[in-house]
């Protein structure tokens, strides 16, 4: 356990020393500032609308929040890929791994230590960004989207999918190939998710099945859509087809599947790395 924590600390140290952490936090704050500023200037119209036409104004406001959260969701994914994509692959390529792997530490502990470091960073970044959006919205308009906690957890879960795939890819691909691998899978899930939504809207089962298949290969988009579904007002759920929302019926099976998927990806990464000739 001690050794896992040591590798996690090293991972954290790197993010700090190489200014990755500061760049992420400062630009994250810039993102939140722009959002809050925009909301601040729209606030008059929104509050006025709430009085005259509450349903419509609420829908509009929710759309605005969901748009921000959609962007945050995307940022979480890209940040997770960028920070973790090089960690195993790069150290194997440079030979930096040799001196570590010859020490009294199991390969599984090296991998889990890195996982822990990136997991903490992922959760902190998500907390900053989602928390910032929700807090700004609450302070300026006194509105909070429904099920915000469950929605946030699902967004973090999506980040973990990407993290696990990136660690797995790093055990058998080069850094660049790993980046292409993870973001490519994200693309598959994205287009599959859209196909599923359109299929459902047009009652075309074949297209829905294509979407489901893509979600099984890479569940990220399905998890985002469930998060979006939960954080919309119920009225929007029935007809909203946009990247910021979803009309998909959430399925608990998908979350269970995703957890199994995460466990399998990490187990494969550990197995690959443990057997790898360095």
């Amino acid at each position: 356990m001690n050794r896992i924590a040591l590798i996690a600390r090293l991972t954290f140290h790197e993010a700090r020393r190489r200014k990755i952490m500061w760049a992420a936090v400062l630009l994250g704050l810039a993102f939140l500032a722009i959002y809050a500023l925009g909301l601040y200037f729209l606030r008059g119209e929104i509050l006025e609308g709430m009085e005259q036409y509450p349903q419509g104004a609420l829908t509009g406001l929710n759309m605005l929040v969901m748009m921000a959260l959609y962007a945050v969701n995307f940022l979480i994914i890209v940040m997770t890929v960028l920070t973790s994509v090089d960690t195993i692959a790069g150290e194997v390529a440079s030979g930096a791994i040799h001196a570590i792997a010859a020490k009294p530490i199991r390969r599984a502990e090296i991998l889990l230590g890195k996982w822990l470091g990136f997991a903490v960073m992922l959760v902190l970044y998500a907390a900053l960004m989602i928390g910032g959006v929700v807090l700004a919205t609450r302070l300026l308009t006194n509105y909070t989207p429904p099920n915000i906690l469950r929605g946030s957890l699902l967004m973090i879960l999506e980040g973990f999918i990407v993290l696990h795939l990136s660690l797995l890819g790093g055990t058998f691909l080069s850094t660049l190939a790993n980046g292409v691998f993870v973001l490519g899978l994200f693309g598959v899930a994205f287009i599959g998710g859209w196909m599923e939504q359109f299929g459902a809207m047009m009652h075309n089962e074949t297209v829905v099945n294509i979407g489901i298949l893509s979600s099984l290969i890479m569940p990220s988009e399905a998890i985002w859509r469930w998060a979006a579904y939960l954080m919309q007002p119920p009225i929007l759920r029935t007809f909203n087809v946009s990247p910021f929302g979803s009309n998909a019926q959430p399925s608990l099976a998908m979350v269970v599947y995703t957890l199994a998927y995460l466990a399998a990806a990490l187990a494969f990464a550990i197995r690959n790395f443990s057997r790898k000739d360095l």
């Binding site: 090293l10 020393r17 030979g95 040799h98 001196a99 010859a102 009294p104 530490i105 057997r275 360095l278």
Partner: protein, 307 residues
């Protein structure tokens, strides 16, 4: 159980698909010995070391280090390793790098703080302790790598081309470090293709060619036992020349000049007697120590690339 062997391997083999990196590695290295592992580039030296350290899984064969199976977690605490072309996170300082490695070895923070300045001093980097690795030259990086391999007072140290990237002063420092390890009765496994270095430091050497250990011998045996002899004599008959086979081999005659290799220096007076008694006129008989380099060329040949 304690054993007198630091390293013991039986027919270790590593294949990468159809390519055989190490064909048959059978070695025994005594505790406290400075053991040189010689071979041309691409002969499988690094692969062999990585197998001993558990970084690479052998395709076949078995081995033990310090009496424990290869890749054993506990034994790694007592083993130091300087990889070829040492590289590490360049955003750390030398001191931080050593601290992380010390902690990985299970040393306490206090033990790290006590030992690190000592090691940095030994490799001549104390002045640069708090400088980032990024600003280091190749030689300085190699020195940090060496310090890292000596953390926690190891019983067995693997050095893979330790002087690569070092200037003459750095090479001298490596020699001094090895000397210091010898005094501490630490076993050193030295991978090298720099023969002069091995000649100065090692007790015993193994020659590896195309993944096979072709010969193992003590350096004393090798360098003192085999002696090349140059003879200048007139009137040597073919019978006299033939008779020289009793004391040596590789006999070549060119006019008055004869060249041969004898197994031991003690046979030189007998050779002189034989030539004089045969009626030839002996002008000179000069023993020449065979350099390790000549031996290397003899044993390993010219296969492999040269640097």
């Amino acid at each position: 159980m304690t054993t007198s062997l630091a390293i013991e391997t039986h027919s270790l083999r590593k294949e990468y698909g159809p390519k055989v990196a190490v064909a048959d590695l059978s070695l025994s290295v005594q505790r406290g010995e400075i053991f040189g592992f010689l071979g041309p580039n691409g002969a499988g030296k690094t692969t062999a070391v990585k197998m001993l350290l558990g970084l690479i899984a052998p395709t076949a064969g078995a081995g033990r280090i310090l009496g424990r199976p290869l890749a054993d977690m506990e034994v790694r605490r007592k083993v130091g390793f300087l990889p070829e072309h040492f590289r590490f996170y360049d955003w750390l300082t030398a001191r931080e790098l050593l601290h992380y490695h010390g902690r990985l070895l299970g040393m306490t923070d206090a033990a790290c703080r006590a030992q690190i300045p000592e090691l940095l001093n030994m490799v001549g980097l104390l002045r640069h302790a708090d400088q980032r690795i990024k600003t280091f030259s190749k030689g300085m990086l190699q020195r940090v790598g060496l310090a890292q391999a000596l953390l926690n007072d190891p019983e067995l140290v693997f050095l893979d081309e330790p002087t690569s990237g070092l200037d003459p002063i750095g090479r001298r420092m490596v020699r001094d470090v090895i000397h210091h390890l010898r005094e501490r009765a630490c076993t050193v496994f030295l991978n090298s293709h720099l023969l002069s270095e091995v000649e100065i430091t090692c007790d015993r050497v193994a020659f590896i060619r195309e993944g096979v250990v072709v010969r193992t011998a003590s350096l004393r045996q090798l360098v003192q036992g085999e002696t090349a002899v140059r003879i200048r004599a007139a009137g040597v008959t073919p019978e006299t020349l033939d008779g020289l086979h009793r004391w040596g081999r590789e006999i070549r005659a060119d006019g008055e000049h004869i060249h041969m290799v004898v197994d031991e220096e003690d046979s030189l007076p007998a050779i002189a007697n034989w030539i004089v008694a045969s009626g030839a006129r002996l002008y000179a008989l000069t023993p020449e120590r065979i350099s390790l380099e000549d031996l290397f060329m003899q044993i390993v040949g010219t296969s492999g690339e040269t640097e």
